[in-house]
Amino acid sequence: MTNHYIDFQWSDVILIMGSNPASNHPISFKWITKAMEKGSKLVCVDPRFTQSAAKAHLYAPLRSGTDIAFLGGMIKYIMDNKLFFKEYVKNYTNASFLVNPAFKLPGENRGVFSGLTGNKYDKATWSYQTDAAGVIKKDPTLQNPNCVFQLLKKHYSRYNMDVVSRITGTPKEKLLEVYKTYSSTTGPSRAGNILYAMGWTQHTVGVQNIRTMSIIQLLLGNVGIPGAGVQALRGESNVQGSTDHALLFHILPGYLGTPRSSLNTLKEYNEKRTPKTKEPKSLNWWKNFPKYSASFLRSMYGKNITLDGAYNLLPKLEEGTDYSWLTLFDHMYKGQFTGFLAWGMNPAASGASSNKVRQALGKVDWMVNVNLFDNETGSFWRGPGMDPAKIKTEVFMLPCASSVEKEGSISNSGRWMQWRYKAVNPPGQALPDGDIMSEIFFKVRDLYRKEGGPNAGAITRLTWNYGKFSADGKYHLDVHAIAKDINGYFLEDKELVDPATKQKKIFKKGTLVPSFALLQDDGSTSSGNWLYCASYTEKGNMAARRGKKDPTGLGLYPEWSWSWPLNRRIIYNGASVDPSGKPWNPRRAPIKWDDVEKKWKGDVPDGVGNPGSGRPPFIMKPDGVAHLFGPGLADGPFPEHYEPLECPVEKNLMSPQKSNPTIKHFEEKGVGTELDTIASCDPRYPFVCSTYRVSEHWQTGVLTRWLPWLAEMQPGMFVEISDELAKERGFKNGETVTVRSSRGELEAVAIVTPRFKPFNIDGNTIHQVGIPWHFGWVTTATRKYSPNDKKPEIFTFGDSANLLTPFAGDPNTMIPESKAFMVNVVKKGVK
């Protein structure tokens, strides 16, 4: 999130698209409701009439997987009606940048951008024109046909209302109403907000879905101000934290790109990862990359090794490979793994195409399942269709503590790092994850010390001074030690300018670094995650603060917990003032210049220089401005509508290119496996299906299905189908039906509802159905329970929705496309 939950109250229009916060982020509706009480308009766009839609002033349906078409139409509407916030667009985006004349848009290049070979783009033409000094050429009048603004206009001129309606199935008058309502937030005094979640990310065009909206937000001047921005409602309470701390393969903590094996030295790595710019006034914050990488290496391997030595120890990614979820399980299925740690995860239910995942789990020699309860993963070998006698995998269950049984922090969607205390001791043999991890670490380290191995030093030299061994030989991790290590220390006495006082000061060895502005590239500081530097300082644990002061009156609550970066509550807030430093909207200004004290007051200022300095405020971009034209992504600098890999239409009405040209096709020979089937436009699977969540359950339900009160409220798998489809197929409300894709099938109770309506897609009636994904066979009444098995107090019905989902993902993130795929729904058991 650029902003935070409390900030929703300042929105004039809120667009809920790709999410259902009423159901899945109930607390967020406290602030949405507040906004509505102040007169804001709530717009909901969703294939299904959701709880959020029920509260919205305006609801528009769309077919799953057509969001870019829908939003592209909005960009065209904004352009055609000149509703963009010109001053903002001109000064704070790359609208005026002149693009390489050789660059081609999909409209003039058979649906793809210039440079495509195979499924990869050569991005040579996705570049800017520069002058002799290397400075990007610009046209502040935004008239040059090669300027970003004109290219954007040209690109989306193809997204006319008629074609958009035929693709999305949204009636034209609804499109117009949404466009009109949302674009009313243009200009200095109004704020429009977008709340999205997995409804946007879980697509083969997931990243581009969000990009499209970001473009709209920039055009309307909706970034950096209260009540605006782009809000990712996270699917799990600490997904923000786990991403910040690099749960994903392609980044190290703090979004430092993981080194590839081709980058032999730290210098090469820094060189490659540190962006350069010739723009004279741009701050280019990432120029500090070497400070963050050096501090990270110090946190990993300590001071008794050179930075280069530490870099050498750091594991690298093989060139050209990815280690994403889909790829990992594909490799596992192909027998390329020996063992597997399933830690706080339930891939047998959460993994796309779960049948493949369940088969894959049988191909490893051992698996360690760290969880609170038994789950579909730990017991995969005795699941439906499995023959335990034929499965070699040895499974170890390590019970772990729940979030209330250990101390630590979580980082919420609004980037707040919030400290939590332990309420009760974990039951039985359960341990906090950190203790389990430590125990494994020390055992593995001993083995490496004894037996050696490839790059053994990566493990043997790792710093692990986060706790103590007790008398019984158990290691007890001190989460405060970890939190401090994440923040970082001065490793030697250092005289530096204190950013707080602007005075020189000696920072003592062993003290905590007060701000990432003081991190050094010479190895004199450590920081496990530069973004979190300033979260735990000599002043104490910032995340544990519970101050309720609100000096701006904007609900920023700067003394409540701590928000990265540097306790900034609204990122890009430097864009909330005009180039002369005056707030666009003085009534809702997150920062204001204090002429007497000569400093910004309010939120922690982001990127902005002193008034009149001319510094562009989007300092995380090398050129200092936000990117309407975004050449960094795998699938194009502008979002283009492509159909989901599995879709009900023969043709993409937008171009001859049907699906995203850059995705990996596991279904193709020699790529994936025989289980990776795709059935697009296949009469056997005529209905569009999407997965979603209910308020009562969490993720795969491992935590919630065992809770009787929650299971009682939502006791099992259902499929929501329209009245029309039910009539056509003769389904009665409440009857059990079979939902089937080319990859699997499951039983579900039919909820026949007017909240789904058939779509008119280019003259054809297309039905869409929807299923929740929280269920699994482990807590059902019909499975076999061994004498030692815990039985749930309240049984749930049905297995995982992911038995049906396709093994295909976004080319940038590899997030699987579980929000748009094709199924059939038949009477129970009918083939």
Partner: protein, 265 residues
């Protein structure tokens, strides 16, 4: 003690069921096996183990669909049929004017189950008790809002002084316009759970239209109960008078035990 009521605003409710769960938690109510019956609403009705349910209801016409979420629990009538019907005082008017329950006193007679115009009290055959919401008396007695109100994220549930709540309700109704209206204060002496409804009463499934203390309860408790004493007492007095004024019917003196043959003359 000021009189508080719970106000439920349908327009603010998102159907998250935080209230339903909080109720179970505070009252430590067990779960019972359910099945999906084609609705999100579960358990389908109030039960002895479920004092509060969220009702989910759809209303569709050709062009639009609406989805209603309604909080259903004890209405806490000022003139409560259940209290009237309860033979033991297990149900009573609390000092907060809500309808409290004293489980110890409940004899499981189910009189209240039949009496309640809102069909709220539910009989638990296992415990042989009738159970229902007591507006979290243990909380409100300690100046806390009921658990359901505490859990509500959107302010759809509020707890406060009656006049204030009704003022808020009336203002909200004005804001909402259309068929919006307040439901509750005009019935059974005023309920302590009031609704702000956006639609007409008849639209809501399960909502009682013009609820009253049932005539059967009035006939039973207000008429027949006193009548039984009057009738019984009347007879006793009448008999006494009869004995004194008319005298008993004694066998005739001339009929001696010795002359059976003469009998019948």
């Amino acid at each position: 003690m000021s009189e508080n009521i719970k106000l439920f605003d349908t327009s603010r409710c998102t159907g998250c069921r935080g209230c339903q769960l909080a109720c179970k938690q505070w009252n430590n109510l067990p779960a019972k096996q359910t099945v999906n019956w084609g609705s999100y609403q579960n358990p389908p009705t109030l039960q002895s183990n479920t004092y509060l349910i969220m009702r989910f209801q759809e209303k569709a016409d050709a062009n639009s669909v609406k989805w209603f979420f309604r909080h259903e629990a004890c209405m806490h009538c000022t003139d409560a049929a259940c209290v009237k019907a309860c033979p033991t005082g297990a149900l009573y008017y609390s000092e907060f004017k809500t309808v409290g329950k004293n489980i110890e006193k409940c004899i499981g007679c189910k009189d209240c189950v039949a009496a309640c115009p809102f069909e709220v009290p539910k009989y638990d055959s296992g415990a042989n008790k009738v159970l229902k919401c007591d507006m979290c008396e243990s909380r409100i007695a300690n100046k806390l809002e009921p658990a359901c109100v505490k859990a509500c994220p959107t302010g759809a549930l509020k707890w406060g002084e009656k006049e204030t709540m009704l003022k808020i309700a009336n203002e909200r109704v004005k804001e909402l316009g259309g068929d919006a209206h307040v439901y509750g204060p005009q019935y059974v002496g005023g309920t302590h759970l009031a609704y702000i409804l956006q639609e007409k009463d008849a639209v809501y499934a399960g909502l009682k239209i013009d609820p009253k203390v049932p005539l059967s309860v009035i006939a039973w408790k207000d008429w027949l109960k006193p009548l039984s004493l009057i009738a019984g007492g009347g007879v006793v007095v009448g008999s006494l008078l009869h004995y004194i004024l008319h005298g008993p019917k004694r066998p005739d003196a001339d009929v001696g035990q010795d002359n059976p043959a003469e009998g019948g003359k």
